[in-house]
């Protein structure tokens, strides 16, 4: 088994050396083959130069340099894409996670879990601006996605490579990796991990833009529930407007023949509009089926990643 430890770095010139040393110190005694991937997310300071000089002395260290700052999700995705290990571990680049917890994450992986996430149960951050919003967000994410994790924001996570490499990740989805991974049916465990105060610099990635999280959450919920059977979902969505359409048009026609000789034009128009909506929704469903068929994300192959096939011995 080979481990890949992935850490995105953004303007971390003070902590990069300490991070490298603490990871090496924690991983080497475990006895596995390993590699460390630092993803330099377009840092403006000397992060890359320092990391590069470190990598020249240690072949385990690989540095990926971005052309510009893309954000945490692309940085993690780049690390995941370029990792060659069987088990991937992601962590923060600012020393707030403790590499000594990696051993415990691996124990869980060896027990048969596909994803192990860290829970910073004694979080060392500001209460009002960081901890409370994140509590609410985590509760909401758990409710909506059905993956009840107490701490989605913790970067210290551990994955089997074949699962995480096949999960679609884009935009700002690093917070929702467990939820996204749940479409594969992955078994997820959560363990308590240590959390340190920031030693250097300012916090760069914050839970600052809550509305974005909410929108992303809505997107993920919609996309994960509907992606594999779009026509079915669009058809279900089309039922209420269909009823509205029939009722509205029916009343208006009934009114015409029931003596008043006066058609309710607005109501008839409303009926037609909703009828149009029904047709458009059904067609959207067909288009989505087409996209899904031609796309390269197949739930069938995702299912096989986690399927357990047992042959009877005799």
């Amino acid at each position: 088994m080979k481990l890949s430890i992935i850490a995105p770095l953004y303007n971390e010139e003070d902590s990069v050396k300490a991070l490298y040393e603490s990871i090496t110190g924690a991983v080497k005694p475990l006895g596995y083959d390993y590699e460390i991937l630092f993803v330099d997310d377009g840092s403006k300071d000397n992060t890359f130069e320092i990391a590069k000089s470190l990598s020249q002395q240690d072949e385990h260290l690989i540095i990926i340099k971005f052309r510009r700052n893309y954000g945490q999700t692309p940085a993690m995705v780049a690390g995941i894409d370029n990792a060659s290990g069987d088990v991937l571990i992601t962590m923060d680049g600012d020393l707030q996670n403790d590499p000594r917890d990696i051993a415990e994450l691996l124990t869980k992986i060896n027990e048969g879990y596909d994803i192990v996430v860290g829970w910073r149960h004694k979080r060392k951050d500001k209460l009002i601006t960081r901890k409370i919003p994140s509590k609410i967000a985590n509760w909401l994410i758990g409710k909506v996605t059905g993956v009840p994790i107490k701490d989605n924001g913790c970067s210290l996570k551990c994955y089997r490579a074949n699962i995480i490499k096949n999960v679609p990740l884009y935009s700002e989805m690093h917070r929702f990796i467990p939820a996204m991974a749940s479409i594969t049916g992955a078994k997820i465990a959560e363990i308590k991990v240590r959390h340190h105060e920031r030693q250097f610099g300012e916090s760069k990635y914050g839970l600052s833009r809550i509305y974005k999280v909410l929108l992303d959450l809505l997107t993920i919920k919609t996309i994960t529930t509907f992606a594999s059977r779009p026509l079915l979902w669009f058809s279900i969505l089309a039922i209420p407007p269909f009823i509205v359409s029939v009722v509205a048009f029916g009343i208006s026609v009934w009114n015409l023949y029931s003596g008043s000789n006066d058609m309710l034009l607005s109501l008839a128009g409303t009926g037609l509009l909703f009828a149009g909506l029904v047709i458009i929704l059904l067609m959207s469903g067909v288009v989505c089926e087409l996209i899904y068929k031609t796309g390269n994300l197949k739930h069938k192959s995702l299912a096989f990643l986690t399927t357990n096939i047992t042959n009877s011995k005799n």
Binding site: G42, K52, S55, Q56, I62, I63, I64, K65, F66, R67, R68, Y70, T73, P74, A75, V77, A78, N82, N166, P168, L169, Y170, S171, L215, L218, T219, T222, I223, F226, A227, P230, F234, L237, P241, I251, S252, N255, L264, L265, S266, L267, G269, T270, L273, F274, G276, L277, I280, L281, S284, V287, C288, I291, Y292, T294, G295, N296, L297
Partner: protein, 310 residues
């Protein structure tokens, strides 16, 4: 400064000036740079006069590669085709008509140090006031909508490393926005001033369609830069707003009908409410389709560009 080969690409589309004269001017303008050069003319469709003149130039011993596209594809595709056959690590695009004083082209090579792309602004300008105002207005709108500070994207003189074109694909009218797309991919872009050629004269007034197209270009760049990876955010916002507005109208009408006995069936407001309601759902559904495209192709669409791995 390195001695890399520079491929000079001249895309020939609807607008072109005397080929031989311009070629000589460019050639003389580039005499003082140290890099070896190759000229590539890309004919975007059938230009018999240009072709025969180029062949004549070839016969006099000039090394010119002529790439002739079978039909009109547009300048973006012509440019891409030129880059495809270019052997150099550096690409210099030059317009097929007079835009800048060729003797100042060396300045661009000096400015390339530390940058990935050098574009030029025709300044000081010598053409008509109207053309200048036109350029100004266009870039003001661009700055307002997209927030980019370029001042002359209409100038076709651009020097860049070949990797830039390897990572960006342009189509339609997007060649104009190449610097923006490059900047977005994380390349360093520098704009320098080069005096405008006196031979670029005449007030060009385009049809209304052209101006409309420019505006749509700006908007499409805005969409491309901001929302390609999150279509549901864009459509979802518009869709929900419309949906809520329509829903509120319908609710208001329903309350009036149920509690105040106002007859509902003939009210025009009902039609408006229903229309907005339906439209909202449709816009949202469109966003969902977009999101599904991204979702199912997320593994192919790289969101990042790697400069190097060590």
């Amino acid at each position: 400064m390195g001695k890399e080969l520079v491929s000079i690409i001249v895309p020939v589309t609807e607008r072109f000036d005397n080929v031989t004269e311009l070629f000589q001017e460019y050639k003389n303008g580039l005499l003082n740079i140290e890099n070896p050069t190759e000229f590539i003319y890309v004919l975007d469709g059938d230009f018999p006069e240009v072709f025969s003149e180029l062949v004549k130039l070839q016969e006099t011993g000039e090394t010119i590669k002529i790439v002739k596209l079978a039909k009109w594809f547009g300048e973006s595709i012509a440019l891409t085709a030129g880059v495809e056959v270019a052997a150099g690590e550096l690409i210099l695009t030059l317009p097929a008509y007079y835009q800048v004083k060729a003797e100042h082209l060396g300045k661009m090579f000096e400015s390339l140090e530390g940058n990935d792309m050098v574009i030029c602004r025709r300044w000081p300008r010598s053409d008509s006031l109207f053309s200048r105002v036109q350029t100004r207005v266009f870039h003001r709108i661009l700055k307002f909508i997209d927030g980019y500070l370029f001042r002359d994207l209409g100038c076709g003189v651009r020097l860049f490393k070949k990797v830039v074109m390897d990572e960006i694909s342009v189509y339609g009218d997007q060649h104009r926005f190449l610097p923006i797309l490059a900047l977005r991919q994380g390349f360093k872009v520098l704009e320098i001033n080069i005096p405008q050629s006196e031979k670029e004269k005449g007030t060009r007034i385009y049809g209304a369609g052209v101006y409309l197209r420019r505006l749509i270009d700006i908007l499409s760049i805005f969409f491309l830069v901001k929302f390609t990876k999150k279509p549901l955010r864009f459509f979802g916002l518009i869709g929900s707003a419309t949906f809520i507005l329509g829903g509120a109208l319908l609710l208001f009408l329903a309350i009036e009908r149920l509690f105040y006995g106002v007859p509902l069936g003939d009210r025009p407001l009902l039609l408006l409410g229903a229309l907005l309601f339906v439209l909202g759902i449709q816009v949202f559904a469109t966003g969902l389709i977009g999101e599904l495209i991204i979702f199912t192709h997320a593994k192919e669409l790289k969101e990042y560009t790697i400069e190097e791995i060590v």
